[in-house]
């Protein structure tokens, strides 16, 4: 552990990404992808990561042509041990972006949607399934309601139903742990703008160890939750010490058996980690049967699944906010202006708030690829000039589908794999 790290709480993983000094060639490719300039070292010399600046997003890892950055936290063997121990119910929380990428590690073409095969492989390995898309829908219910509350407070002076404080506009999404850490380490004055809703992963862990005990008929202590994420920053997020809400809730309500605190999400595997786990257990995902999720915690909607794309959270939130505000569904449901790979997307929707019988125009913005696009948006909000009401931010270019935990070489996400076949050496 880096003893000089200042921006981590006790118990947190102090930086998920490190650079292997013997592999680094000092080529500077990673620096172009780093959102915070956390990578130091002259061109040609071995590079290092400043853990206090690092967001653990892993963009350097998936873009390094030599594979020098690595993850400091690897719990594949720990999860396999838990799977073999019959006293545990191991719950896999599958993020949306995993189902369109993991196939690449088993010889399927990029972008193959393999939800059924993934469920099949997970069941064979011994997991129970909690689809993170279920909690993505839950996130929309919470975050969308929060947005409506903030908007009605700002526009009509409405007071909170539950007596709590109401945050300012624009509201920022809070699903992306790299973005949350960016705000916390650089612009703490923006914290009130962040949605207080937990990320879908943390909601999933909490739900699994509270409501999930009724679903699976297991005690909360025997449930072991594994986030399966396209993201390295999720490993850091899960290690935040305040994320033991299920333990506190169970203890308070007499549902707990032990006094030993347990985290909401016990550990996190990236998409690459899960492929490795399957391969160690001799499971070939491409050959698996397609099966269903098996419990209500695996039910999800189209709105939940698009969370993995840039603009997806916004689109899903708009579909629900529109219906709640106007009383009728958004038509068509596809909200095209927030889709696509353009760096900064904005749109507005004019609708009638049925409760106040007034026309309102909701202005939204979507930002991804923080390394290039975040600064102007942050500056606008800091200066109080932001024209938007709701802003989605995802660190990685394209959203979670291009997260730092996704498969690397097979799809050509590393630029050198494109030219590698031209050389005899590999």
């Amino acid at each position: 552990m880096n003893v000089t790290a200042k921006t981590y709480q006790k118990g947190e993983i102090p930086g998920v990404i490190a650079i292997n000094a013997t592999v680094c060639k000092g080529c500077d490719a990673c620096k172009r992808h780093c959102p915070t300039g956390a990578i130091t070292g002259m061109f040609g010399t071995t590079h290092r990561i400043d853990v206090d600046l690092c967001l653990s997003c892993g963009q350097c890892l998936i873009n390094c042509p030599f594979g020098a950055p690595y993850e400091t936290s690897d719990t594949v063997d720990e999860v396999i041990a838990k799977l073999k121990d019959r006293n545990n119910t191991v719950v896999g929380i599958i993020a949306p972006a995993v189902r369109v990428a993991i196939g690449e590690d088993f010889g399927l073409p990029a972008g193959s949607l393999v939800t059924g095969k993934l469920y099949g492989s997970m069941k064979k390995a011994g997991f129970e399934i909690l689809d993170n898309n279920f909690t993505a829908d839950l996130t929309i219910m919470e975050e969308g309601t929060e947005f409506i509350t903030r908007a009605r407070h700002a526009l009509f002076g409405e007071k909170s139903e539950h007596g709590g404080e109401i945050g300012p506009l624009p509201q920022f999404t809070s699903c992306c742990p790299a973005w949350v850490r960016f705000v916390e380490t650089r612009y703490p004055t923006l914290i009130p703008h962040l949605s207080s809703a937990k990320s879908p992963q943390q909601m999933a862990g909490t739900v699994a160890k509270t409501y999930g005990t009724n679903v699976w008929k297991k005690s909360p202590e025997s449930i072991y939750t594994v986030g399966i994420m396209p993201c390295t920053a999720k490993k850091l997020e899960a290690s935040r010490p305040e994320f033991n809400a299920a333990y506190k809730y169970n203890k308070k309500n007499g549902r707990g058996l032990t006094n030993k605190p347990y985290p909401d999400v016990d550990t996190v595997l990236t998409t690459r980690d899960l492929s490795r786990l399957f391969k160690k257990l001799k499971i070939d995902l491409a050959q698996e049967e397609e099966v269903a999720g098996g419990s209500l915690l695996a039910d999800y909607t189209g709105a939940g699944t698009i969370f993995g794309n840039t603009g997806g959270v916004m689109e899903a939130a708009l579909r629900t906010a529109y219906a709640v505000l106007t009383g009728s569904e958004l038509k068509p449901l596809e909200f095209k202006p927030v889709r696509g790979l353009q760096g900064m997307k904005s749109a507005s929707v004019t609708l009638k708030d049925a409760k106040y019988n007034k026309e309102v125009t909701v202005k939204v913005a979507v930002v991804h690829n923080m390394a290039e696009n975040i600064q102007p948006v942050v500056n606008e909000v800091l200066a109080g000039r932001s024209p938007y009401h709701f802003i989605e931010v995802m660190n990685c270019p394209g959203g979670c589908i291009n997260g730092g935990g996704q498969p690397v070489c097979s799809s050509g996400s590393s630029w050198i794999s494109a030219i590698r076949p031209w050389f005899a050496w590999k």
């Binding site: 981590y8 189902r99 972008g111 219910m141 969308g144």
Partner: protein, 106 residues
């Protein structure tokens, strides 16, 4: 009419036609390499990005229910356990607070 005089030096660099073509070819090839490389790099990265993006939108299009408030299991969760969005249990379990990390924490 006066006759105009001008100076003209034949082949100042002393290269033969063959040498000129060879050198020109090498220069053109070197200029072309970055172009080829950049297209390869950008097209391969945006190709897999687009493929995965399409995969998720496909999952949305084929879904029976496409709005979060239409998820019956989420409704059941609230009915059996969670209460209402932003309600007391939701605040306790599904919401969080953030930390100012510009102050020294450890």
């Amino acid at each position: 009419m006066e006759k105009q005089s001008y100076q003209y030096i034949e082949n100042p660099l002393q290269v033969t036609r063959r040498e000129f073509i060879t050198i020109g070819g090498i220069v053109v090839a070197f200029l072309a390499i970055p172009t080829v490389w950049i297209t390869l790099v950008t097209s391969s990265s945006s190709r897999y990005l687009q493929a995965r993006t399409k995969g998720l939108y496909q999952d949305d299009t084929k879904a029976a229910v496409r709005v979060s408030h239409g998820n019956k299991s989420v409704a059941r969760y609230y009915k059996e356990f969670g209460g209402t969005p932003l309600g007391q249990i939701s605040e306790e379990l599904l919401h969080t607070k953030y930390i100012n990390r510009t102050k020294v924490l450890s």
